[in-house]
Symmetry: C2
């Protein structure tokens, strides 16, 4: 019996030694090989996209996604899986929107629009009015009440094609969508039409969140996105005749908040269980497509980080949490709730990584941290180069992990190739077929490798 | 009159100064902005793909492509545009191939195959035989004549998913396609079926070149590619019953060589007209899709390099040639002809750059050159980083520029993101819609920027 015990201990010792003897390079290779040959992210995304579909906060899809991802995490035999309750807004699109340009009475051209998330409906019979095209709020201000009152404001500033990071082009335009209604309402506009945030010319309207700020209910005006092709058409027709009219009709509405959840899974740390590393994406999506890139990809990659750590034989020293945040798109309630709870409990989050920029080939990471932390992280860069992870820069992280920011911790965002992202972002073509299996798996592997390093070396 | 002359000279001088005063950073910005806002590559590719279509050497499509690209280059008001004659092989596919697996007499499952380029036809009634599956030539050798004679050999070694550069996975498999028939014919096989060179599981067979080497005509056997899904199916069915039969029928044939052309355009160098810089891609494509990625993308990007140089106000010191090579896919005749002529005329090619790895987001360049040349080139890398061109490595260049190699010159290949390339390579889905406009334009800009540096600084 003693001999058997000795043999068992010897085996454990040898196994431990053999694992400890692995270099970071070897661990990276194992993680990547696991992800590219036995990855689960693509199968999970297939289910999320094709069996569940869109997952707008408060929808049946969102509820199903909570149940499904919790069940899948439970299959991974993590140390713990649980739901964190959070109340979320519930906005519904209603029937499909309808819009046309009327160049003369009875002569109309149908165009493609969609209500912006959070917008009110038009009156049941729609709105028809003249259109005032502007590129900026400054231009709107200069036109004033005289020109705007009673009309529809058409925001038509395109994303700037010459910018290399498409996210910068997005940032340069998105205030039209988010604040356009509030700004136009100041001058008595009756509605707002916004050029879709899309670098490509096509027929798809792209939704996204908008705000009314403190605007009283009676002053709120409906707001919709128009496809880039139709924005070009409308602009051209306005140049030919500024008196043409625009009609649109939408029946969306904001309902009462409903109960929903963040989904959380844990591998407990063996040495420092009270130091937390978070990896996550957001479980909700817009309602037009399947939310495959935004952010189904981030969800399944984050889930696979925990699975890949286990499959690669890594036993974390620190506690690793995967967090699937609810309601990033139109409220960020899940992220706020998570951060509040973490603060209240005094949990020390040393590192939080988000994937919410599409499932495309990963190019690197953006780190929100101090210069001294970054100088340490920067040294890991060479480990990633054989995997074509070249982008290691200080910058923003992600909307969901943002609220976890402290003076000493590190937040990060996966940075996939961004060139195609806005072709799909918040539109009906954000579907499973637009995601490439290898690209998705490379992202999951890169995230796992970074989590491995943070766990091993701490801060 | 003197005053006017003086003013003109002053203007020229100021203009010259103002251009010379531009930093490399400013020139890069101008090139990228031009390409992303006024690029021509995407429109040209639309025509090549959708109006002309596939361009296999000797086909009507290839002839139309020669005429079209020559005419488009002429519109650019280059210093010279001409055709370089070259005789090319002409292989035709004939009617659509047909194949099935027969699990028992009368019980058949149709599968997707396509003849490999250069293969002979099957007999008019097709071939039906038992199938021997192998993964390697070594395995084939070990089976020998006993097991192989009279049977169809099925090469089923998949591309290795764990490799990060998909081109390496391709290199690890492509001998099955290129040499499979010759090797199997040694042991009396009656035909060859090869798993498509595709990392993805789908229903599309991928063609590509194969050889008979010196095999006498009577010993040649037909060779076809099977889709990855059907390769998996066939392999599974063979495991259940090794006696199942495979039928295939194809009517392809090799015709007589025909006259074709490389298309060449020139901007003459202002200081060193006898130092040549070449940028190119190949004009021919396989016949199944439109050859949009392979290599329509490289063709239009190369054309746009010369246009972008002009549009950015750059007056090259050295002579810049765009060369659209004919017959890369099944003979490399255009490239060989071009290199022979260059050698015969004693033309000094200091730099040649090829784009032939798809129209995806450019990641960098691979340089085939001496260490000393590379240490100089490496210093340019920082200029490219704001444009997310991170990959600057010594390595291979491209099949068409390869024959231009000397001891002192530099050959290079654009290295786009490779993850999706083999999803489309040589298959019917290599079509215009699989190419993203911005990704294509970023490649053209990166190429132009590199040509600008070689022109400015020489070697």
């Amino acid at each position: 019996m003693k001999q058997i015990k000795f043999l068992i201990l010897l085996c454990i010792g040898l196994f431990g030694l053999s694992f400890q003897a692995q270099t970071d390079e070897q661990v990276f290779k194992e993680i990547y090989t696991q992800s590219l040959t036995n990855g689960k992210s693509y199968d999970w995304l297939n289910h999320l996209s094709n069996q569940i579909g869109s997952r707008l906060s408060g929808s049946l899809g969102a509820e199903k996604a909570v149940i499904y991802t919790k069940a899948e995490l439970e299959k991974l035999e993590l140390d713990k899986v649980w739901l964190q309750p959070v109340m979320v807004p519930r906005w519904v699109r209603g029937s499909k929107e309808y819009a046309y340009i009327e160049s003369s009475p009875g002569k109309t051209t149908t165009v493609n629009i969609c209500a912006l998330g959070g917008s009110i409906a038009t009156p049941a019979l729609g709105i028809k009015s003249q259109v005032i095209e502007v590129k900026t709020f400054k231009e709107l201000d200069s036109l004033g009440k005289d020109k705007i009152e009673g009309n529809i404001v058409f925001y038509n500033r395109p994303m700037q094609a010459s910018l290399i990071h498409t996210s910068e082009a997005y940032k340069g335009c998105v205030n039209q969508r988010y604040n356009g209604a509030v700004e136009a309402a100041k001058y008595g506009a009756v509605g707002v039409i916004v050029r879709s945030m899309n670098l490509r010319l096509d027929d798809l309207p792209h939704t996204g969140s908008m705000t009314y700020n403190n605007l009283s209910i009676k002053d709120r005006i409906p707001s919709a996105a128009i496809s880039t092709n139709d924005a070009e058409l409308l602009s051209t027709m306005l140049k030919l005749d500024s008196n043409i009219k625009f009609f649109f009709k939408q029946s969306c509405k904001q309902l009462k908040d409903v109960q929903s959840y963040n989904v959380i899974g844990e591998i407990k740390g063996s040495e420092y269980p009270n130091e937390f590393i978070v990896v996550g994406g957001h479980l909700d999506s817009w309602d037009l497509g399947d939310g495959a890139h935004d952010d189904g990809a981030g969800v399944v990659q984050s889930m696979d980080v925990l699975r890949l750590l286990k499959a690669s034989g890594i036993k974390p020293k620190r506690t690793i949490w995967v967090v699937l945040f609810m309601n990033e798109e139109n409220g960020l309630r899940g992220a706020k709730k998570y951060a509040e709870d973490a603060k209240r409990k005094g949990e020390r989050h040393i590192f939080a990584l988000e994937s919410d920029a599409g499932g495309f080939t990963p190019r690197g990471f953006s780190f929100d941290c101090s210069d001294s932390a970054f100088s340490k992280i920067g040294k890991w860069h060479t480990l990633f180069k054989p995997y074509l992870i070249h982008y290691f820069e200080q910058g923003s992280s992600g909307a969901d992990v943002g609220p976890l920011k402290t003076e000493t911790n590190v937040l990060a965002g996966l940075r996939p190739d961004s060139q195609r992202y806005f072709d799909y972002h918040h539109a009906s073509n954000d579907t499973f077929d637009a995601v490439n299996k290898r690209e998705l798996e490379l992202g999951a592997a890169a995230m796992t490798a970074l989590v491995y390093l943070f766990d091993k070396y701490g801060l």
